[in-house]
């Protein structure tokens, strides 16, 4: 397992090199893709990217939590959380590459 972290700039760079858009167009497009994904999720839509995975919004009910250190009860309000389910294609890629 390498310690390298891929960032937004790396993603923009590979779009620049593989698609041939200019650097600034590539950077803008990567940002726009992520913005569209985010906006759909904020609307409560799930986003299904075949051969990568599915992002979905899950509705969690409120419950009584407990501070594990003090044992004190704390109410946890109902909330919406994001979940990502990787596709089989992605899972297989990760585990068959050594």
């Amino acid at each position: 397992m390498g310690g390298k972290t891929v960032t937004r700039a790396d993603l923009a760079n590979s779009v620049h090199q593989q698609v041939g858009l200019s650097r600034s167009e590539s950077g803008d497009l990567v940002k726009l893709v992520l913005d569209e994904l985010s906006d759909a999720l904020v609307r409560g839509e799930s986003v299904k990217l075949s051969s990568f995975g599915t992002f979905a919004v899950r509705h969690k009910k409120g419950r009584i939590g407990r501070n594990p250190k003090t044992g004190q009860e704390v109410p946890i309000t109902p909330r919406r959380v994001l979940s990502f389910r990787p596709s089989h294609v992605l899972k297989d890629k990760i585990n068959n590459s050594g």
Partner: protein, 95 residues
């Protein structure tokens, strides 16, 4: 929303770009992210979130039909952790 709907939406909003290039860019983006994870790398995009790999140790599984024990090898599963901004927007969202 699916990948093709995403591509169409972006192409409509970016009339200065060839729709074909938008399609290629989205596919390249996902391809690059998959390849990075397959290479054991993390992905971190500020505001959106990060992808990392979680290790699952080998275990003895069971065929639920026959009850036979099966050796399940260790593996890595991809994990997405939403960034602070996206997490808060989703929680306060309209959906």
């Amino acid at each position: 929303m699916t990948k093709s709907e995403l591509i169409n939406l972006l192409a409509a909003k970016q009339p200065q770009l060839e729709p074909k290039d938008v399609e290629l860019a989205v596919k390249e983006l996902l391809e690059q992210m998959s390849a990075a994870l397959a290479a054991g790398e993390r992905i971190e995009v500020r505001g959106f979130g990060s992808f990392s790999l979680h290790y699952r140790p080998p275990r003895i599984g069971r065929n639920p039909k026959t009850g036979a024990a099966v050796q399940v090898p260790d593996k890595f599963v991809p994990h997405f952790k939403p960034g602070k901004e996206l997490r808060e927007r989703v929680n306060n969202g309209t959906g």
